[in-house]
Each structure stands twice: as C-alpha cells, then as structure tokens.
C-alpha cells in the first residue's frame, strides 16, 4: 500500500503531446478512476505509471520512491490489462506463479500467495486450467489474481471490464469494489465509462487532451464541475448547456435570457455578460408555467423514468422525468428547473459558481 | 525502460550467416563477373564489362534464353490452368475431394531426382508405361523433349497453384453465391461472372510466382535430357552450370548468374507489390 504522486508529467510522441503537465496526488488506499474521452491520455498516463511508456519529463513517485526511472517490474505495481493478457500456454496457477518465480520467491511462499489469492477470488477450481478453457469472467478473475499475488504497492487497471458482456460487467464492478475494500490497496483504474468511474472510485480524475481537467470525489465532480467539459462528461444523459446573456442585474440577483426563456440566478453579474447556463436533465420537470417551452422531438421511455427531448429554435433540452409522462411527439410543452439547480460557466467554459 | 540494443543480439546469429552467405557472395559475384576468372586458378584478369559483352554476342546464351522462355511460356500456363481447373472442381467440401486434393498435391513433396527418375522410366521407349502406344523416344526427339519436360514439371508442381487457387476460392463470401442463386444465375454464369473475376488477383500472383520458379528450371533438364537433343532443351541455369562447372569460366558464369538475379529480382519485386495488398482483403 502506498501513495502515488505525479509531478508535471509530460509525454510527447515527436511533436504530439499525449500528456501535458499532469500533476496528481493519490493517497494511500484510494481507488482513483481516470476518465475521459478516447485519446485523452488516460491509458498513456496509466502505462507511464506502470513503466510501459517512458515519460518525456516530470516525476512519478510511488510510496515516496522515485519510480519513473525504474524498470516496470521494479516499481511495485501490478496491472490488469484490457484483454487480460494471460499467458495462453500456461495454466492459471502458472500464470500466477510466473512473476513470482522471476523474482526468485521461494516455492512455499509462491504457493501461499496463490492459495490466498485463489481463496479471495474463489478461483481454486480453475487453477489447473488454461485460459482457453475459461469464460470471460473466469479469465478476468485470473488476471486480477495475477496482480494480487504480487502484493503490489499499487494496482493498475486498464479498462479491465470492457471486454466483458454487460451483465458480467456489472457483477465484476462490485466484485472489484469489494476487493478494494478487503485489500485496502491503492488502485488506479482507467475507464471511458463514467458510470464505472462514478460507482467504483473514491476519487475521479477527468482527463481531456492530455490535461487533468478536474480531480475530486464522484459527487464533488457531479455537483460542482469546474468547467463545461467535466459538466457534460459526467452524468447521463449529459447536462443541458445553453448560451445565455444577462438582461438585468439587481444586486444579489441577475436575470438571464437563454433559449427564449428568462431565468433568475442568485448572483450579481453585469448586464450584457455572455455566459453558459447548465442544467441537468433530472433537474428539469414538466410544468405548464415553466420558462423553457418547446416542441417534443423524442420521448425515450425507460420504464422507471422518461427522457423528453424538446427543441426551441436551434436549442435542444433533455428533461428526465420519473415514470411515464403523458406527452406526445410534436406537442408543445414547458419544463421548469428545480430551485438553485443552475450551473453557470463563463464564455471560456469555466465555472463561475452555481445559481 | 528496456534497452532496445539487445535486439541486435537476437538478430546477430541470423545476420552473421546472412552477411557471409548472401550479401558477401552477391557482391563477390559482381566482382567475379568483371574478371576473366578461370576457376582452376590459372588465370585472373580484370576485364570490366567484357564478360557481359561476350555474353551478348554468344549465340549459345541467346539460344539458352530462348529455350528458357519457350519452357516458361509452356509450363506457366499449363500449371496455372491445370491448377485452376483442379481447384474449381475440388473446391467442394466432399470427403472424397479432400483425398483427391491430397493426391494432386502429393508429388510436390518429392525431389527433382525422384520425379525425373519416375518420368524417365515412364517415358522409356522400350519398357515405359507408354511404350506400347507411343514408339518414339520422347526425350531424344527434338520436338517432343521440351513438352515432355513440361508434362513432368506440371505433374511435379501442380499442387502449388491448386492450393493457392483453393485459398483464393475460399475467400469469396458464400453470400455472393447465394445472391447469385436468387438471381437465377446458371452454374456457367456464376463461374464466368463471379468466381473467375474474384480470382483475378490470385491468378496474377500465381502467374508471377510460377514465372519466377519456372524461369529457374534446371534439375528436370539436367536429369532428363542433359540439354539435348542438339541443345534444344539447354536452358539458362543449365548454361550457367556448364559454364561454371564444365568449362570452369567463373567470371563468365557469374555474368550469367547476375543477369538471372536481376531478372528474378524485378519479378520478385512485382510479386511483393502484388502480395502486400492481398493480405488486407
């Protein structure tokens, strides 16, 4: 168990920067998820921590020790790969033992560690089988077992659930969380799936174009995204973001106009300021006197909730309503926001506090 | 980070013999060809392109080239057409056909001396398999010797084009045939409009590869006719062989070898260009 500190990590491929000045503190025992769209650098960052990629500049410390100059095997990290990367010609037991033999651990210690990992993961019956004779979920467990037996300072997961089917994914999700609780190890988890990040991690790092956009607990990020990118990346369906302009400024209160609606926020902003106003779909509800009016384009009925897409001019809003809703495509309806549910962003997309 | 220099250590065990037995000899061969070089060691003199000039004026060289091309232009179409025909017939997944495919490919694994011994006996005018039907000594006949070598070569090597065509046929999606069936296409129409066009690329590749192989014909001629009768089957490689190991004219033979190398390299280059995009489909 150890903490992980990244300082100004840069990675360039020729002229292309994959990571730009990434700095990060991960406390011991944390479960940190790296999320971001594809190409944002999250995998590169993880592979740099593992040592599978060399960094151009900056520093990586694991448990206080400088790691970025060490060989991957010497960093005290274990990694679970996307496609598991099990050795196909070895049995599960040999897969688990391979790395331990390579560092010259005594036989009984290897046996002890494999026994323990097998017990934790309930893979005892699989140990003499080869990966080819296992299901996806079983392979996943072996891959995790191979990481556990190393008793690493740091676990790294590279989108480990993306090659599983949907049902298994949900099951393994909670299994990994339980594993984290049981081992108490520091874990870094890369995913493009924000649901995985929200449900599993203690902290989330949102990456975009090689930069850290925001770091925080899942709810911090969800409630107070620091910019439009984070606001729209977390949450499904994503937050509605409308361009707006301040029309009145009455001391502690301002009125803005967005999508032909006038809305009030508890904040003093000079008249004429252009900004963006964001509101999450679940913060909108049907209300005949609501400020946002528009024509229903699509209704997605999911049973326990319904997503109503309405448009007004070239603006589109999504409202999430519980249960079913009595609206039809083509109908004119109005929606209203909940009190104080607005997120305000300046013209550059940076948060300027809620309203 | 792992040091990548260790890669050199992995490559070295191969690279060493490669440099000694491929790269160096190739340069050496050019060097030879610029000399009048008697292998018995009595004479070694720089002659520049003299050997190539001699070659251009040598009627035996031109006759060998003509014989080689004659053989190639008979053998390549024969191999390609026979291979294609066998592949088209034997494509279907019948157990009997799997056995027959094995039969037609089998002779490919024999050495040239086995194949020529068999055919020498088969073609023997007195005791051969055809002795009762054909009373001519085929291999001593000016007009029949070369065709006989072609027949031997086809019997020996038809498995290779057949297997390549079978592989090409397997790449045609089943759905195309099913669509054709729904369009009421006759078997002949399917063959002409779907199968053969789909094999165009494979065919070109097979033709080039067979050309490269057959142009280098040597063993069959040496063992069946020895170049005769009256030099009618003396081919280029055989001419090279005789210049080097009968007349011991190393420089002159090297000039022949280098010309052969250039011709084959051009053809191989063509083959690689053809082969590369095929993997993508």
């Amino acid at each position: 168990m150890a903490d992980l500190v990244l300082t100004d990590v840069e990675k360039h491929y020729g002229d292309v920067a994959a990571l730009r000045g990434v700095s990060l503190d991960v406390e011991s025992g944390d479960f940190v998820a790296f999320v971001g769209p594809s190409g944002c650098g999250k995998s590169t960052l993880l592979r740099s921590i593992a040592g599978l990629e060399s960094i151009t500049s900056g520093e990586i410390r694991i448990g206080g020790e400088r790691a970025d100059l060490k060989a991957p095997g010497d960093r005290g990290v274990a990694m679970v790969f996307q496609a598991f990367a099990l050795y196909p010609h070895m049995t599960a037991r040999e897969n688990l033992a391979f790395g331990l033999r390579n560092i010259g651990l005594p036989k009984d210690e290897i046996a002890r560690r494999i026994g323990e990992a097998a017990r934790i993961l309930k893979i005892e019956p699989l140990l003499e089988r080869r990966p080819g004779a296992m299901s996806g979920g079983q392979r996943q467990r072996i891959a995790i077992g191979r990481a556990i037996v190393k008793e690493p300072k740091l676990f790294l997961f590279d989108e480990p659930l993306s090659s599983l089917d949907a049902a298994l994914r949900v099951e393994m999700r909670s299994e990994i969380v339980r594993l984290h609780q049981r081992l108490g190890s520091t874990m870094v988890y890369v995913t493009h799936d924000q649901v995985e990040a929200m449900t599993m991690a203690t902290h989330i790092v949102v990456l975009n174009a090689g930069r850290v956009e925001q770091v925080g607990t899942p709810l911090e990020l969800y409630r107070s995204p620091c910019n439009v990118f984070v606001a729209r990346f977390l949450g499904s369906p994503p937050m509605n973001v409308l361009p707006a302009e301040v029309e009145k400024n009455g001391g502690a209160r301002a009125e803005l106009r967005a999508a032909d609606a006038t809305i009030a926020v508890d904040r003093a902003i000079p008249v004429g300021t252009r900004l963006f106003v964001g509101v999450r779909p679940e913060d909108l509800h049907l209300a005949d006197d609501g400020p946002f009016r528009g024509e229903v384009q699509v209704v997605e009925r999911l049973g326990h909730r319904s997503l109503v897409h309405l448009s007004r001019g070239d603006q589109t809003l999504v409202a999430e309503c519980p249960g079913d809703v009595p609206v039809h495509v083509g109908e004119q309806i109005a929606v209203a926001p909940r009190e104080r549910s607005f997120h305000l962003f300046d013209e550059a997309g940076l948060a300027i506090g809620g309203g | 980070m792992r040091s990548n220099r260790i890669g050199l250590l992995f490559v070295a065990p191969f690279l060493l013999p490669f440099l000694i037995f491929v790269v160096y000899p190739l340069l050496r061969s050019v060097w030879f060809s610029l000399h009048k070089w008697d292998l018995l060691g009595t004479e070694k003199a720089f002659v520049g392109v003299g050997n190539y000039r001699l070659l251009a004026a040598d009627p035996f060289f031109w006759s060998a080239l003509r014989n080689t091309l004659l053989f190639t232009f008979m053998a390549v179409p024969a191999l390609v057409i026979t291979g294609l025909a066998l592949a088209l017939v034997l494509e279907r997944p019948l157990r009997l056909y799997a056995g027959l495919r094995a039969v037609f490919f089998a002779s490919s694994v024999f050495s040239v001396s086995v194949v020529t011994l068999i055919w020498q006996v088969v073609l023997d005018p007195r005791r051969g398999l055809l002795a009762k039907a054909v009373e001519v000594d085929v291999l001593s006949n000016r007009w029949l010797a070369m065709p006989a070598i072609v027949v031997t070569t086809v019997w020996w090597g038809v498995g290779f084009p057949m297997v390549l065509f079978l592989a090409g046929l397997q790449q045609i999606p089943r759905a195309v045939y099913e669509a054709a069936q729904l369009d009421h296409a006759s078997r002949w129409a399917v063959l002409r409009r779907i199968t053969l066009p789909a094999l165009a690329r494979t065919t070109l590749l097979v033709v080039v590869m067979e050309f490269i192989m057959q142009f280098q014909i040597f063993g069959q001629v040496l063992l069946l006719t020895g170049g005769g009768p009256s030099s009618s089957t003396r081919v280029l490689v055989m001419y090279l062989y005789e210049s080097a190991f009968r007349d011991w004219q190393l420089g002159y033979a090297s000039a022949v070898a280098n010309l052969l190398f250039i011709a084959m390299a051009v053809a191989s280059f063509f083959q690689l260009r053809l082969g590369a995009p095929r993997e993508a489909t």
Binding site: - | G7, F18, F21, V22, V114
Partner: protein
Amino acid sequence: MGKKLRPVPVEVIAITLVAVLWMLPMLWITALSLQPNRALLRATPLIPTQVTGENYARLFAVSEVPRWLLNSAIVALAITLLTLILSSLAGYAFARIAFPGRKAVFALVMAGMMIPEQALLLPWHEMFASTHLHNTHAALVLPRISGAFGVFLMTQFFKGIPREIEEAAELDNAGRFRTFITIMLPLARPALTTLGIFTFLGAWNDFFWPMVSATRTEMYTITIGLASLQGNFAQSEGLGFLMATVIFASLPVIVLYVIFQRHIVRGVAGGLGA
C-alpha cells in the same frame, strides 16, 4: 437451408479417374519395385505376375543408399534446427524490439528473399573450395541457414501476438530473453511447425548446391545419390532395384506428408503463398 449444389456424379467419376491416372506413375513404379529384375527384362506390367522383396533387401546389402539417407537426415535436421532457432530469434527482434537500425536491416533481409540461389552458388563454391570444406556436412548446411524466408515468416507471426502479453511479462519481471523463451516461443509453436516442415522438405530435396559441393559418393545426399543413378537403368537389369531405391528414398517425405498434410497445405495457402 435452400438447395445446396448437389454433386454431379459424372463430374465426381471423371475427376476420380484423372486422379487415378495422376497416380499411375507412382503405382506403376511401386509395382516394378516389387518384381524380380529378370522378369522386368521381358515385360513391365502394372499388375505384377511375380512379387518379391529382394530389391528392397539388396538396398541394405549392397548399395550406398543407407549412407546417403543418413547424410540427408543429418544435413536436413541440422538445417531445420538452426533455421528455427535463428529465424525465431531474429523474427522476434524484428517484430518487437526497436533496436537501432531495425528498419534498414529488415529491409536488407527482405531483399535477400529476392535473390535466386544460382546467383550465390558460384561464390559459395569458391568460398568452400578455398577453405577445403567441400564434401563435408558443414558445406551443405551453412549456406542453407542464411535464408530470409524463415525470418520473414516468424516476424509476421510475432507481430500478430498481442503486445499486452509481453507487457504483462515485463511487469512480471521477465527480461527480453526470458520472455522470448518462456512466452513467445511456446506461443509460436504453430508457426515453428510450419517453418520446420518446409525447411526440412526443402533441405531434403535440395539439389543444385549439394550436387556442386558433395562430389564424393560417400558424401552424397539421397537426392544427389538418386540423380547419379539416372540414365543407367535402361540397359541395366536393375530396373526393379532402381525403383525400390526411389520408393525407399522417398519414404521419409511421404511419411512427413501423410502426417503433416494439413500443415503443409495450409502453409502453402497462407504464409508461403501470399
């Protein structure tokens, strides 16, 4: 399912007949090899009137065939083993290790595939003559381990193995060489089998170079030995004996073909053809 193309019986019969004709030379010489040489002076029938094993017996008693077979076995096995080792080592490096100069060296090796052996044969002959190494097994083996094809095949194969597996090994503290031996080589077994079979067949059937290099009969390979027997059968009484020699000499490749037929055909269709 719709209607499957039903096999036309006429077609099946016709192609089967062609196949029988195709095999006829083989069947016939097998028949000859089982008949007494004296009987063959009178007639050479496809169906033997007298059957004998004496031709095969004499093979061991009087001929040099066993010696030639031994030479072939030594040479072909040595070439195969060395080719597998050198090709897989080099192929792995070309596929996976970005050592300095990799691209240039690989291009050079690939260009080596375009060179016909006739262009190299005369320099080889001179090299071995000047070092007095003709008529040795080494002379037959050494030039044959420099072929670029195996390197090409293994490079292609190793490129297809997921990189993650190697990275997992790297995190498992396995160095390059250990990764190669314990992970990559076992994974490469199918490719090594194919390469091994083709190398062995090629070495066994090798003709031009052994003919030039091995000039003493006791150093002949079986392929050269058989070539040396050509032409003297017609007048000789030993037709049955000669055919027994051919059959016996071909047995190793026939056995190999029967065992590995699928491998061989797949190899031609896949890696070797395109």
